[in-house]
Subunit: 175 residues, 2 copies
């Protein structure tokens, strides 16, 4: 899949097929997270890949949309060694979600609604924080899915986003 | 460029050629930021594209590595309407840097060292915060540059990152 198309066509996917994610795909996704840049290359993240159904079900009540975790094929928790490194967490998470997208796998980030409970269930040391839990799976019917033959310009026209004119300023904000 | 290769091969570039970035490329980069997902699709970001040399020079002292802004061909400030949305800022910034990379353009994020001064120079309203300023430009000799013929596996082997075994946990952190 073309890189620019992947970046502009990636959509959040929240309903998944029961089909499991092959181990090789999971590793490719995590490698994309590992490769991400971070402030001073500190790599303030650790990843927990969860595929056991009982654990996914246990975690579901601790995010704002439990169905995402109940129905996903796998989840990747992004754990921070520095809780203020949320910008870097966003970079590595985006890398992983884009890598998944190029493999035909949908995903979305889930913010913990009960971080303490999630930390306990995932046996995460107290000094670390949970930035997000990515839910992953092949898209269910009706969900967005990657299309290698799509046109980036058409994707950008139909997208549910503010128009560029409202987002983009030139030289200064006021100008 | 292949999407997975782009994601795993993207490196920070801090020294740039004086060659300007074509307007069309700048727009493609910002569109990639616009397309990014965000929590509840709130799109908590605004972008300021800066290409005027005098403004870039004015901004340089307000980041930790002034040379990045002094030498870049363009900068994109990521301004947040919600200062807590750093995770989403990381997602949109990563999208823009990956889009740039696919166009042969290097980049890196610059955290403000003096956000108040930068806000004033960029005429940003007081209620908004600056997450990062991306410096952009075609890579100077010796800097990393995108290679469409590179092998992702080789890139992942040679990368200056913690080994996957240290980063990745399975099912729980302790397991």
């Amino acid at each position: 899949m073309d890189a620019y198309l992947a970046v502009v066509s990636k959509r959040e996917v929240r309903r998944y097929l029961p089909r499991p994610i092959p181990e090789e795909a999971l590793e490719q996704i995590v490698q994309a997270g590992r490769a991400s840049g971070s402030s001073r290359n500190r790599q303030p993240w650790r990843f927990i890949a969860v595929t056991e159904r009982t654990i996914l079900r246990d975690l579901a009540p601790f995010v704002f949309r439990p169905a995402n975790l109940e129905g996903c094929a796998a989840a990747i928790a992004v754990v921070l060694t520095n809780p203020r490194a949320q910008f870097d967490a966003g970079r590595t998470a985006q890398n992983m979600m884009l890598a998944a997208w190029t493999l035909g796998i949908g995903s979305c980030p889930n913010t913990p609604s009960d971080e303490a409970a999630m930390r306990e269930r995932l046996e995460i040391p107290a000094e670390m924080s949970i930035s997000t839990v990515l839910s992953l799976g092949y898209p269910a019917p009706g969900e967005p899915r990657p299309r290698a033959d799509a046109d980036p310009a058409a994707k950008l026209t139909r997208i549910s986003r503010l128009p560029l004119a409202e987002l983009l300023h030139r030289e200064t904000f006021r100008a």
